[in-house]
Amino acid sequence: MSIGKRGTRPAVTALGFLAPALSLYLLFEIVPLVGTLAISLFDWEGYSVGSMRFVGLGNYAAVFRDPVFWKALGHNGLLLAGMVVLQSGLGLAMALLLETNVPAGSFFRALFFLPSVISVIVLGVVLSIVLSPSFGAAGAALDALHLSWLKADWLGSPQVAIWSVMLIQTVLGFGLAMFLFVAALKAIPDELYEAALSDGASKLRRVWHVTLPLVSEMAVVVTVVACINSLKTFGLVYSLTRGGPDNGTVVLPLWAYLQAFSYNRFGYGCAISTVLLALTLIVAGLQFRLGGYGRRSW
């Protein structure tokens, strides 16, 4: 599918196609990002321009000395692994299930994405109340289903809270992964399945040999997106637990935001954001490498 190699005309045409996205991206993403990087080299409260004080890498040194940073990093690592595996896995599983002739499939497929439509404020408030031991709603429901052994202080126990957050994010957020997999699955021609069927392959074999290889590239996309989202978003965590209890669910983007906007350590907050960005890029890069993305030639 690629035309020409190292010729000037393809490069010029390509540039034409790239120009709109690239120029907007440079101006509205890269330039502010450079600004953030610059700010991270200063000690700044963020209330007036005159009070900026150059500290070089001092903020970064402080980041690595900060115990909450390491705690948050650990939580992010946990959520990352969880989100990548659980969300992608659940998304793929649901997409596969939707490929069957289960009735009302498209109805359910539509519903699974709806939680993304709801503001995180509402999600946090409602789930807090439902899971609260004070009101006892979830507890009562579990009792009715004879599942009382599942009861715990889901959001109030510093040890359990992070797992609760992971589970909640998975169930609410697998819609996007599912959609991406559905798009990939739909691109697989039916003939391939029929060929496999006529070769006598069982259901499982058909999935293994036909489906999975053809969605592998989309799988890389899904895992990268899940990975990046888990490192970047903190709206739901903040709404559910404020990063507590006892900093038991604090995550890096939340910590960076609090430092910059609540504690008036703007330079420090930017430093945390920069470290987070670097980590994200490394992880995403590894995923691309391992997934063999972009190596296919057409």
Partner: protein, 429 residues
């Protein structure tokens, strides 16, 4: 080509001239002066009150027009600081809440109002309220206080207490006895939502202030004593005791402020502790009867009678770089008149730090004002007397998060205090 170039040059010159002329925009036409007032009081009830202040002021000063930019409470701090750091959309007057007064004063954004305040000193009910706008190091004042809150009260469900034959406790022992009675009757004594952090931090502040007394608190605030001292620890132990005895709501660790308030209003808990802003802000049906009593002194506590935890949480500052200082001060002078504050501000349930403004308020507002007035000395919430003291925000978060850990059974009171000391030290340069 040269003709085109000449045209281009002329047009450029005209454009520059127009831009320069346009820079003078916003000054109003003729004799009127326009001031920009920025607040985070976009919440309809409060915005109407501010607009009322402005309307009456403009009536008295027809040559001054005030443009009120009312943002919502959460965007406002970020928008205000963005204005100051970028130089765009600078306000002439702006409101401050709690520690923001200190941030802006330290950053040089606020005009020094020490002389003005000194000249109008008797307008304010309590020296402590002016302290909320004063930098300790220099002693200079950078704004005027406009709302006061009292922290030393506990709200209660009137019907629930009556039903169980309990009268509002007047001592800590009576309070514990009441909790025991309620618990036995199957009612949660105290509703607490620690997730929101400030809720549990207030409990901590109160118990510490009552246990240690303001002399010790002052020593700690000035850096002569660490937070990790026996009096502070004893104060926090009382909260741990409440938890151990089962007097706090079951979800106290993970519930937030609104959830715990809903728990209280639904009649499942009897007591609820928060600041006196609740008087203005509570949304409950008329069938819900509530009142409040003064937070009892602790047995063995060093707090003297009349030591309160109260603060002027809201106030106004004038921008240091404003082009109309005289007009700004005219506005400040106008709104700090007791009858003006009473007409608009106290009317919506706020408590005013201005002498005489609370006299015709509703019964509950007057009761709060009396509690505050009865205090011979006050210390602000967060135990800072002045706004630039050594209690940075991350110390606050450490305090709150470790207290939550204490409620969850993970931390001891001394660990909580040590965390605060560590956070303060890390911040000191």
């Amino acid at each position: 080509m040269s003709l085109n170039r000449r045209i281009l040059a002329t047009m450029t010159a005209l454009a520059i001239a127009a831009a320069l002329v346009g820079c003078g925009k916003g000054q109003g036409s003729g004799n009127t002066v326009t001031l920009r007032l920025m607040t985070g009081w976009g919440y309809p009830k409060v915005k109407t009150a501010v607009d009322g202040l402005i309307a009456d002021f403009e009536n008295e000063h027809p040559r001054i027009h005030i443009e009120h930019q009312a943002l919502d409470d959460q965007s406002y701090p970020a928008a205000l600081r963005a204005s100051f750091t970028s130089g765009d959309n600078l306000p002439d007057i702006y409101e401050t809440e709690y520690e923001y007064a200190g941030y802006h004063a330290r950053a040089g954004n606020a005009m020094d109002l020490t002389d003005w305040v000194k000249a109008h000193q008797d307008r304010f009910q309590h020296e402590g309220f002016v302290d909320s706008q004063r930098l300790r190091k220099s002693g200079r004042v950078y704004g005027v206080p406009y709302s006061a809150v009292n922290m030393t009260q506990v709200f209660y469900n009137v019907d629930l207490l009556k039903k169980h034959g309990i009268s509002p406790p007047r001592s800590w022992q009576e309070f514990l006895d009441a909790c025991a009675r309620l618990k036995k009757a199957g009612v949660t004594p105290i509703a607490l939502g620690a997730k929101s952090e400030f809720t549990v931090a207030h409990w901590g502040d109160m118990l510490i202030a009552k246990q240690a007394g303001l002399d010790v608190v002052d020593k700690v605030a000035e850096g002569n004593l660490p937070w990790d001292n026996p009096d502070f620890a004893r104060g926090l132990e009382r909260l741990a005791e409440l938890r151990k005895l089962g007097y706090l709501s079951p979800g106290c660790v993970s519930d937030g402020y609104m959830e715990s308030m809903a728990y209280w209003i639904s009649g499942r808990a009897a007591f609820f502790h928060t600041g006196s802003w609740l008087v203005a802000e509570i949304i409950a049906p008329k069938s819900f009867h509530w009142d409040f009593f003064a937070f009892p002194d602790l047995p063995g506590g060093k707090a003297q009678t009349g030591e309160n935890v109260a603060v002027a949480n809201e106030g106004f500052q004038v921008a240091a770089k404003t082009k109309h200082p005289k007009e700004c001060l005219a506005f400040i002078e106008y709104i700090t008149r007791p009858e003006v504050a009473a007409k608009h501000w106290v009317a919506i349930g706020k408590v005013s730090p201005i002498r005489g403004a609370n006299e015709k308020a509703s019964a509950k507002v007057r009761k709060v004002a009396e509690l505050i007035a009865a205090g011979k000395r006050t210390v602000p919430y967060g135990l800072m007397r002045h706004i630039d003291e050594d209690f940075p925000e991350e110390a606050e978060r450490a305090f709150a998060q470790y207290l939550i850990g204490m409620l969850a059974g993970n931390r001891t009171p001394r660990q909580v205090l040590q965390a605060v000391d560590a956070a303060r030290k890390a911040r000191r340069r």
